[in-house]
C-alpha cells in the first residue's frame, strides 16, 4: 500500500482541496440543478480542472497529460466527492480516456488523449442496457456493412451522454447476449445519422442519457481495440472507474460524517448537546470504524492500479462493495441524526444521500461486487 504520499502527491492533494472548496462548492451543484442547466456541469470549472492537470492525470506527458497516476487521481476524486462536484471526470477521464489509452491505435491516442488532457472534449461510454450493471449483457449489435459496420441497439445510463463530443459504444459483433466474447468497442460520432440521445434527469442532478442507435453506419477505423475483444478492455476500464468512484465516495462519506459529528456537538435538546446521548455516540463510533476500513480498501485499490498488481479486480470489488454499502449507512445515519432539518432541501445532507445512491449503483453496487469477489475467490 502506498501510504506515504510523495511531495508531488501532497501538492496535488492540497491543490485539489483548495480548488474544490473555493471553486466548486455545493452552491455550484445547486445552481446547475435549479437553473436546469442544459450542460449539467460547469464548462468553466472543467476547463480550470484541465488547466490544473486533473483531466490529464492518467495520460502520459507525451499526449499533454500530467501522468500523476491512480493515487493522484484518487486524491482529486476524494476532494471532488467532498464537494459533490459535478464534472466529466468519470465519463471522460476514468472511462473513455482509459479505454483509448489501453486499446487505441497510435492515431486514436494522439488525437483523443491530447484533447482530453486539454479539457477540449467530453466523452461518454455507452455500455449499460438494463437496470443493473451487467457488462456482458449486450444486445446492441454491430454487423459488417460495406467496408464498415452498422450499429443498432439501445443504451441507458450513459454518463454525460447528452453532452459528449464522442461516444464509445460497446456492441456485439458475435456471440449471444451475456457472452463475454464477441463484444467490440466503437468510436461513434453522436451527431451521426441514426443516433438519438435523450438526457435523463437523475436524482443526484448529474448527467446521464438514454441513447438509441438505429442502423448507424461507422467505418472500420472506428473500432477501438480488436474486433470481438472488447471485454478485456472493458473489464480493465470498469475497474479503474469502480476504484475512482470508490475514492469519490470516500470523500463523500468523510464529509457527511464530519458534518454530522459537528451537528451532534451543536444541536441541543433536553438542555444538552444530542451528542452526549450514548444511543448516538455508539452509532457515530461504529460509523467511524467503518470509514477507517473504507480508507484502507480505497488506498489499497489505488495502489494496486498504480503498481499494476494482478489483483486489481479483487481490490476494485473490495473497495466498490464496501464504499457503496458504507455510503448508504453514513448518509442514512447522517440524515437521521440531523432530524427534521435533514429532510429539508436546504440542508446538504439530502444531496449527499442522492449522490451516494447513484455512485453506488454505477458499475456495480455491493451485491454485484460481493458476487464478483466470491467468483474471483473461487466460490
Amino acid at each position: 500500500m502506498a501510504m506515504v504520499l510523495t511531495e508531488e502527491q501532497q501538492l496535488l492533494r492540497d491543490t485539489a482541496t483548495q480548488f474544490f472548496q473555493e471553486r466548486v462548492s455545493i452552491a455550484n451543484l445547486r445552481r446547475l440543478r435549479d437553473t436546469k442547466d442544459p450542460t449539467g456541469f460547469d464548462r468553466g470549472v472543467w476547463k480550470d480542472m484541465a488547466d490544473l492537470g486533473f483531466a490529464g492525470i492518467l495520460i502520459s506527458e507525451k499526449y499533454g497529460g500530467t501522468d500523476f497516476g491512480p493515487v493522484g487521481l484518487g486524491l482529486v476524486l476524494e476532494q471532488a466527492g467532498r464537494a459533490l462536484a459535478a464534472s466529466p471526470l468519470v465519463s471522460t477521464v476514468l472511462l473513455c480516456g482509459s479505454a483509448v489509452q489501453l486499446a487505441g491505435s497510435a492515431t486514436q491516442r494522439q488525437e483523443i488523449l491530447s484533447a482530453i488532457a486539454a479539457g477540449e472534449i467530453v466523452m461518454a461510454l455507452a455500455l449499460e442496457e438494463g437496470a443493473h450493471h451487467n457488462p456482458a449483457q449486450i444486445a446492441t449489435h454491430a454487423r459488417p456493412h460495406g467496408s464498415g459496420y452498422r450499429i443498432t441497439g439501445r443504451k441507458t445510463f450513459v454518463l454525460d451522454g447528452h453532452v459528449a463530443d464522442k461516444l464509445i459504444v460497446a456492441a456485439r459483433t458475435s456471440g449471444a447476449d451475456g457472452d463475454k466474447s464477441g463484444i467490440t468497442l466503437f468510436l461513434v460520432d453522436p451527431k451521426a445519422k441514426g443516433v438519438t440521445i435523450a438526457r435523463t434527469l437523475m436524482v443526484d442532478s448529474r448527467n446521464a442519457a438514454n441513447i438509441s442507435f438505429d442502423n448507424v453506419d461507422v467505418s472500420s477505423d472506428s473500432v477501438l481495440g480488436s474486433v470481438d475483444g472488447g471485454n478485456d478492455v472493458l473489464e480493465q476500464v470498469l475497474d479503474i472507474a469502480r476504484i475512482g468512484l470508490s475514492a469519490e465516495m470516500l470523500g463523500l462519506v468523510s464529509e457527511v460524517f464530519e458534518t454530522t459529528v459537528t451537528y451532534l456537538k451543536e444541536r441541543k435538546q433536553f438542555g444538552v448537546p444530542i451528542g452526549s446521548f450514548q444511543a448516538l455516540k455508539h452509532r457515530a463510533a461504529v460509523m467511524f470504524s467503518e470509514i477507517e476500513l473504507c480508507r484502507s480498501v480505497v488506498l489499497d485499490a489505488l495502489s494496486a492500479l498504480e503498481a499494476r498488481r494482478n489483483d486489481v479486480p479483487r481490490a476494485a470489488s473490495l473497495a466498490k462493495a464496501r464504499l457503496s454499502d458504507t455510503a448508504r449507512l453514513v448518509t442514512n445515519e447522517g440524515l437521521q441524526m440531523h432530524g427534521g432539518m435533514g429532510m429539508t432541501d436546504q440542508f446538504d445532507i439530502g444531496l449527499y444521500m442522492k449522490r451516494a445512491r447513484v455512485a453506488a449503483m454505477t458499475f456495480g453496487d455491493g451485491n454485484f461486487h460481493r458476487d464478483r469477489y466470491a467468483v474471483l475467490e473461487g466460490f
Binding site: M1, M3, V4, V261, L264, K265, V272, P273, G275, S276, Q278, L280, K281, H282, A284, A285, V286, F288, S289, E292, L293, C294, R295, S296, V297, L299, D300, L318, A321, R322, R370, D371, Y373, A374, V375, E377, G378, F379
Partner: protein, 396 residues
C-alpha cells in the same frame, strides 16, 4: 552487503540451525501453548529447547533492551526476524502475559532495580504472570475496584477478591491493581507485584460456557507484599493500568484476523464441504453471501492493520484507526465463529465424544469462547465510548 541484509542472512542461518523441525508446524492444540513458568509442562520437549535457544539471544522479546535480557533489535531488525520466522513457519517460542502486557509497562514505569529483577525471567519464560484487574464489583468500571492494600510499615497487607484472572491457578506471580486510598477513585489505585505462593492467596478456576476453565476467582486474605514490589508511585497505578490495557487490547484485536481453532480451513472450503457445492460455488446463495461478506470484512480489517503499521513506521503516529481495532477485531471474530457454526450445521452442535471430529468439537468450543472477546479487556460498548470521546470529541 547492507547491514540489514547481513542481519537477515545471519538470522536465517541461525534459525535454520536452531529451530527444531517440530516447531515449524502449526498446532491447534492448546496444551502445546508455550506459557513457560515454574510449573511448565512440555508436551513436546522441542518446545522447551526452542524457547531456551530463542531466549538465549533475547529473541523472545526482540526489541527489549539487552540490559534486561532482551534482543536489543531495532524495529527494522525485528521485522526481518519476524519475516524470517514466518518464512520457515516457526512457532512463537513463548506465550506470556509478561511478554505482551507487563513487560512493556515495567520498561516504562518500573525502577531500575525492579527492571533488573523482573524483566529477565519474563524474557526467559521462567515466571508466568497473571493479571489481577477485574473484581466482582469492578468490570467495565474498573477504577471502582475495592481490593485494598494497607501500609503496615515494612509491607502492604492485601485483602480482597479478583475475578476473570486468566490462568491464575497456573501462574507464578500476579500484577495486581489495589486500592491504597479509599477516599479517591482513579487517584487511589496502586500497581503491585506479588508471588502467587504467598500465604493467603487462593485461586479457584471458573468453568466457562465452553467447558474450559481458563479464568479464576482469586482471593487475597492478609497477603503480605514487600513494599519494594510497588511499581511507580503510590496512588499512581491507574496510569500504568491504562497503558497496560492498551497492550492487552492490541493483543486481543489480532483475533479478528482469524487465529485459533478452525482457521486452517477456509470458510469457503468448509461451506462447500458441509453445506454443498454447485458449479464450483457454495450451493446456497444466502450462505455464499455471508461467507463472502465475512471474507471481505476480514480483508478490509487486515488492510487497516497494515495501513496503521505503515503510518506508524512513517512517523505519522498510530493514527485514529487503532482506537477501533479492539472493537472491530473482536466483533469480526465472533461473527466468524457464528458463521462457522451455521456452516457445520448439526456437525457443529456436538459437545464431546466420538460422534464428532476433534476439529468440529474445536470449532464449537471456540465459538463459545469467542463470545468473551467483546467483553474481556474492555467491552465493545466501552471501546465505542472511548472512540466517541477521545477520537470524535463528543461531549459527556
Amino acid at each position: 552487503m547492507e547491514p540489514i541484509e547481513k542481519f537477515r542472512q545471519e538470522t536465517r542461518d541461525w534459525l535454520e540451525a536452531n529451530c527444531p523441525a517440530s516447531m515449524r508446524t502449526p498446532t491447534n492444540d492448546e496444551d502445546e501453548t508455550p506459557w513457560g513458568g515454574r510449573r511448565a509442562v512440555w508436551k513436546n520437549p522441542d518446545a522447551k529447547i526452542w524457547l531456551d535457544r530463542m531466549a538465549s539471544r533475547g529473541w523472545t522479546a526482540p526489541t527489549w533492551p539487552k540490559a534486561y535480557g532482551g534482543g536489543g533489535l531495532t524495529k527494522d531488525e525485528n521485522l526481518v526476524l519476524q519475516s524470517e520466522m514466518r518464512r520457515i513457519k516457526a512457532r512463537a517460542p513463548l506465550a506470556s502475559f509478561g511478554l505482551w502486557m507487563l513487560g512493556p509497562a515495567l520498561l516504562e514505569f518500573a525502577s531500575e532495580e525492579q527492571k533488573k529483577e523482573f524483566i529477565p525471567p519474563i524474557v526467559r519464560g521462567e515466571i508466568r504472570w497473571c493479571q489481577g484487574y477485574s473484581e466482582p464489583g469492578a468490570g467495565s468500571d474498573l477504577a471502582g475496584l475495592q481490593t485494598k492494600a494497607e501500609d503496615k510499615g515494612d509491607h502492604y497487607l492485601v485483602n480482597g477478591q479478583k475475578i476473570w484472572t486468566s490462568h491464575a491457578d497456573k501462574a507464578d506471580w500476579i500484577f495486581c491493581l489495589v486500592r491504597t486510598d479509599p477516599t479517591k477513585k482513579h487517584d487511589g489505585i496502586s500497581f503491585l507485584l506479588f508471588d502467587m505462593t504467598t500465604p493467603g492467596v487462593e485461586a479457584r478456576p471458573i468453568t466457562m460456557i465452553s467447558g474450559a476453565s481458563p479464568f479464576c476467582e482469586t482471593f487475597f486474605t492478609d497477603v503480605k507484599v514487600p513494599k519494594k514490589n510497588l511499581v511507580g508511585e503510590l496512588n499512581k497505578g491507574w496510569t500504568i493500568a491504562k497503558r497496560l490495557l492498551e497492550h492487552e487490547r492490541s493483543m486481543i484485536s489480532g483475533m479478528g484476523l482469524g487465529s485459533g481453532v478452525g482457521s486452517s480451513a477456509s470458510l469457503e472450503s468448509l461451506a462447500k464441504d458441509y453445506a454443498g457445492e454447485a458449479d464450483g460455488r457454495i450451493a446456497n446463495g444466502a450462505l455464499r453471501d455471508h461467507v463472502v461478506q465475512q471474507k471481505m470484512d476480514g480483508k478490509a480489517f487486515a488492510l487497516t492493520l497494515q495501513r496503521t503499521a505503515e503510518e506508524a513506521k512513517a512517523g505519522h503516529g498510530t493514527g485514529a484507526a487503532s482506537a477501533i481495532f479492539k472493537y472491530y477485531g473482536t466483533e469480526l471474530n465472533k461473527r466468524r465463529y457464528e458463521l462457522m457454526l451455521e456452516i457445520l450445521g448439526t456437525r457443529g452442535l456436538g459437545w464431546e465424544g466420538e460422534g464428532f471430529t476433534p476439529e468440529e468439537i474445536g470449532i464449537t468450543r471456540s465459538w463459545l469462547r469467542s463470545k468473551g472477546n467483546s467483553i474481556e479487556g474492555g467491552t465493545s460498548e466501552v471501546q465505542l465510548n472511548v472512540v466517541a470521546k477521545r477520537v470524535l470529541g463528543l461531549p459527556d
